[in-house]
Symmetry: C3
Subunit: 281 residues, 3 copies
């Protein structure tokens, strides 16, 4: 498979492992932060394309090989010009939100196994998955963006409102604060939070179990859950447009500049305590 | 009342008790499994018709008299030909999903008091009720169908998505696994899980309390909750059609055949540990 | 500011405090019950108008200065004729539901800090806020109305269905019973319940934090959560109309008369144990 070859040989930021023909694993492995650089975008795209087109895969698990991080936000220290000028995909959405929408609709059950920090794009990718399970001790989810003057661009307003209701979604997004595993469970941000020692076994058993069922039945069933629960694309598009507009505002540019001067996007307290970090003036 | 006479004298699988003119109780009493045989369908229909037309009833509680079971899935050992060829009801839906839709809209508050296993049609009936309360020690809810190659036919994709959000609904339905009382409470599958010793008293007090209020006020209020929260019929219809289509596929027929050979639909481990059972290959 | 002057000098039932230009506090201070008298309506209106038009405010916290009460229901002992004949606001809604709708859309983040009883209009105001936090020991939320023969008029059928799903919303509204802090948290009625000693510090820190972020970004983000989660006005309007119709029915008038004879709307057991009170016949 082309996607597999690409991921395995040309770049080790995202590794694709086929545990079996019907059960795949996608591992973010971009130390030290699992930060989302522009070069990750085509890799994610290739993996999602493979998930869309492979006829055997039934379940994919997303996890991380980097201590302390699942997948975090955009790397604001990288050259982002290319990213901003990417042509829209077939649906008219920018490639990032489009990939998320495609993942939610791809004929494969997707499970995020969250150990370490999932913020910004990392949280958005987890929210585009079918299910999310968190390490009680090590998972931290958040949408930090509002703290940096940014409207989140990958759909959390649409997704979190539907998962946890208006009150909790507004708190999570507008506070821009860290949400540890147990609170994420209480709020419905994740399906369940569990002891770190149990997470891998639980997720592997669940993935193996679902992969043992009939693919057609799984997909027909899942389609009807999607009909009942996925946000319309226009909400995702509006979110992306609001994100791009916020990015261009001088006030936001100034906030991001200040954050970068204090260590944002580099290993250290800025990223390991991002909630506190964006809350300090 | 015709419905009462039918239920009380011609068949003891479902018993109707009028605790008072405004508070009724419907008890599933079809030992040893409370399995849903084709003969149950007209009985349920008669009871729902009575609930729709009686002018005094305000609250109905559904419970079970069978140890270990609330109400479970279709009896695949029964002659099912009649079931498949039943004419649609007034809404155009097949009688089973139509009865569920009618129950959710009938001018009566419905409460499922769940002790023992509620899976398949038993879970679907509980989900069509207004509220669900579970015995912490003895309730097990599930939609086992995907594990048997079947798309669930009585609306859980539509109902569970709205009760617990996409992530947890997909886990419950696609894992086809047992959900005990406390997890059902965490996920919102039931309103609350409570000690088994408290369940009857709690439900009886709640039913008595609501039955003491004004029927017109109850129904006008409930109508507006229904407007805000009931799935559209078309989602229920699509689910039923997908169920029927899945049932006809050879792969599904083979799965069901294998399960039956191993004890499905008979007393024993297959039904008392159904989650584990459908997960074994 | 006109609103501030009004609230501060002409009437002390509702006090507006500007902690800073971007962080305001609205305190219900109408002892002994924080009951909602007709004279409160223009005061609430003035405050909401100020929140809509002020260019600096980013966050407003609603709390109470009255021991045991946050804000409760309409004062049925007051002269209510004026209230019934108020002209509709710009949206065509009656002023009360219109104020709630306006608060949910006003360009300000609203947080209800609930200590004591919030029932009827008090619960509806809290539900119109963006977020709700509750004292574990002292908060009691409820919609008592059905127990008095009334359909609730300020939108809880629409709001609670979306926050907690159909089953729990029906229980809360049709039982008309008291919901203490921890159960309110489990059901999603509030974001979180916490020790009473922590509530003020938590809410203040959250409000201060959000007020430190960029107003435009906050509001663009919040708008998209609103798109995904606010009920349509027509549901609020239908609820109000059903409330007015229920109020006019002789059966309801009789229920309210009986409740008043037993102490409703006056200090004492009727209000401090309202859930039990309306459940007694």
């Amino acid at each position: 498979m082309k996607g597999q070859k690409f991921a395995a040989t040309q770049n080790t930021q995202i590794r694709l492992t086929k545990c079996s023909p019907d059960y795949w694993r996608v591992t973010f492995d971009h130390p030290p932060l699992d930060i989302f650089g522009p070069e990750m975008l085509p890799q994610v795209n290739e993996i999602i394309t493979a998930l869309e087109t492979d006829e055997e895969v039934k379940v994919v698990v997303f996890d991380s090989a980097v201590e302390g991080f699942f997948l975090i936000h955009l790397d604001f220290l990288a050259k982002l010009d290319d990213l901003a000028h990417l042509p829209p995909g077939p649906t008219g959405l920018h490639p990032w939100p489009e990939m998320l929408v495609r993942l939610s609709r791809a004929p494969v059950v997707s499970i995020a196994s969250i150990r370490g920090r999932a913020t910004g794009m990392g949280s958005e990718l987890a929210l585009a998955c079918d299910m999310r399970f968190a390490s009680r001790e090590k998972a931290i989810l958040s949408q930090f963006e509002v703290g940096a003057g940014l409207v989140p661009g990958g759909g959390p307003m649409a997704q979190l409102s539907r998962l946890m209701g208006r009150g909790r979604a507004l708190e999570v997004i507008l506070s821009a604060n860290d949400i540890p595993g147990d609170l994420a469970e209480l709020y419905g941000y994740v399906n369940r939070s569990m002891p770190d020692a149990d997470l891998d076994g639980f997720v592997d058993a669940l993935a193996t179990r679902i992969a043992s069922f009939d693919k057609r039945t799984i997909m027909d069933t899942r389609h009807l859950v999607n009909v009942a629960s996925l946000p319309p694309d226009i909400e995702i598009e509006s979110g992306w447009n609001a994100c791009v507009a916020s990015m261009a505002r001088p006030a936001t540019q100034q906030r991001i500049k200040t954050l970068i001067e204090r260590g944002f996007c580099k290993p250290g307290d800025a990223e390991t305590r991002l909630g506190d970090f964006v809350g300090k003036r």
